[in-house]
């Protein structure tokens, strides 16, 4: 955030990638992509590619980490070595430990953890390709994976960021906008109740700018929420449809 004017981010009133100020990048989500996990989701968000997998509820190990009255939601955010232009040194670092913590806490808000005392619900978020906004993408994918795993929860979590570039408040920062912009505000939103379960701010915004950014983000989260629901419906509605059994029998 230090270098403000290294790069021109807005030209003739449009952004570098031609988006409007309140326009999201393209998002697509697919639920249930991994057979071995209890639940999973794959998300593409602009150039981000993120895989999320859920295991559990299962017995918590190590046992001293068990909670006697509720389950622990244990998320692990990890970036693949090949997810960024310069190879990322594998393993947890300051940043990924932070994101793991905040994804865990955001998801814990919606999961009925009290139903599974002494257990753990493991959530793995693997970033295969990163291009700004992976924590939001990871949280969005993880909540679809949780629903796919049949975990009881009060709602899905939709997440999106907004920020400021060249003094203008914009939605869903791209890579260069994130690197050379002035502020970045990721938000996790629970659409049913309108609660916020993740809020961070990198950089500075005035009060008015913050209000504008929040309004924009919440509208975007509602849009993302619909994409999440669509992804789940797509998987399970086709299962509910009449399958062509003759073909199946021939294959067997």
């Amino acid at each position: 955030m230090a270098s403000d004017k290294d790069m021109k981010l807005i030209e003739d009133g449009t952004r570098l990638d031609g988006r409007d100020f309140d326009e999201l990048r393209d998002i697509s989500i697919k639920a249930g992509v991994l057979k071995r996990a209890d639940g999973s989701a794959y998300l593409e968000w602009g150039k981000n590619k993120i895989m999320a997998a859920v295991y559990g509820p299962r017995e918590m190990h190590p046992r001293h980490a068990q909670e006697t009255t509720k389950a622990v939601v244990r998320a692990r955010y990890n970036m693949a070595a090949f997810s960024v232009p310069d190879r990322k040194r594998p393993g947890p670092d300051r940043r990924s430990i932070e994101i793991s913590k905040l994804v865990s806490e955001a998801l814990e808000k919606v999961v009925f953890t009290e139903k599974y005392p002494r257990s753990v619900i493991d959530v793995f978020v693997e970033v295969l390709q990163a291009s700004a906004g992976t924590r939001c993408g990871g949280l969005t994918a993880a909540s679809v994976a949780l629903a796919d795993a049949g975990i009881p929860m009060s709602d899905l979590v939709a997440s999106c960021a907004s920020g400021k570039i060249e003094g203008q408040v914009v939605l869903d920062l791209g890579k260069n906008e994130d690197n050379y912009g002035q502020a970045d505000v990721p938000v996790g939103y629970i659409p049913r109740t309108g609660e916020i379960c993740l809020l961070q701010m990198d950089g500075n915004l005035t009060e008015e700018e913050y209000e504008e950014a929040m309004d924009m983000t919440i509208d975007a989260c509602k849009e993302i929420y619909e994409i999440q629901k669509e992804a789940l419906k797509e998987k399970y509605s086709t299962e509910l449809e009449e399958a062509n059994l003759d073909e199946v029998i021939k294959e067997a």
Binding site: G32, D38, G39, P57, E59, V110, D155, L156
Partner: protein, 229 residues
């Protein structure tokens, strides 16, 4: 489990359920006077309760379920049994049909043994008590065990046990379907392999209409038997 055969409405976590005068049942929660789905599943109405029948997810133990477990640990007076639930179950020496002396547990049941057990109690800590001292319960010494998602157990059993009795009839195998999604199969090897294939088919097409007829066709073809005539 599968009334509402015609109307299957898919609900997602947080979806509001528009039902007048019904009580929130399994897989739902109540907030501010409204009922919402807590899980991804299909809405069913039964005895004044709305339930959401889960379409995925792990086994949730409940009292009275008959399940298949494997022994993971032995102590002087109890065995620890994995029944595919969030936490392991305890099989105490009082709940076996033999008189087991203190510290002599290993000579009756050992680590790795498969057991057909009944869940007698689930407490609020999700700790389970199980018994093997009841009719039909025993140690499983022969046969094989396969696993399916617990949400599809009702499909393998079929309405009123129609599917499972058909499988037994055609393959000539002994089959037991545990509520936790583990299925024990024993019999002639050929029959076993047909039964496994048929169960895999049910698993992959669990929601298809006319599944029972299709499976019967498959069984007729593979076994060369026909009970219709």
């Amino acid at each position: 489990m599968s009334e509402n055969e015609t109307k299957r409405e898919l609900l997602l976590p947080g979806d509001k359920i528009e039902e007048e005068g019904l009580k929130p049942g399994k897989g739902t929660f109540k907030k501010d006077g409204n009922i919402y789905a807590a899980k991804l599943g299909v809405k069913t109405v039964r005895k004044g309760y709305v339930n959401v029948a889960a379409q995925s997810g792990r086994y949730e133990p409940s009292e009275g379920d008959r399940v298949i477990g494997t022994v993971t640990d032995i102590d002087s007076s109890y065995w620890t049994v994995d029944v595919n639930a969030p936490s392991p179950a305890i099989l105490h020496v009082n709940d076996v049909p033999w008189r087991v002396d203190y510290g002599d547990t290993a000579s009756y049941i050992n680590v790795g043994d498969a057991l057909l057990v009944k869940i007698t109690d689930v407490d609020e800590q999700n700790k389970m008590q199980i018994t093997i001292d009841d009719e039909g319960l025993r140690k499983l010494d022969v046969g094989q065990i396969i696993e399916i998602p617990p949400s599809q157990v009702p499909r393998v059993i079929g309405r009123g046990g129609s599917m499972i009795s058909m499988l037994k009839k055609y393959t000539g195998c002994k089959i037991f379907v545990g509520q936790n999604g583990r299925i024990w199969i024993d019999g002639e090897l050929e029959g076993q392999s047909i039964a496994v294939k048929a169960i895999k088919m049910i698993e992959e097409n669990a929601q298809a209409l006319g599944l029972t007829e299709a499976i019967e066709g498959f069984l007729k073809e593979k076994t060369g038997k026909d009970f219709d005539e």
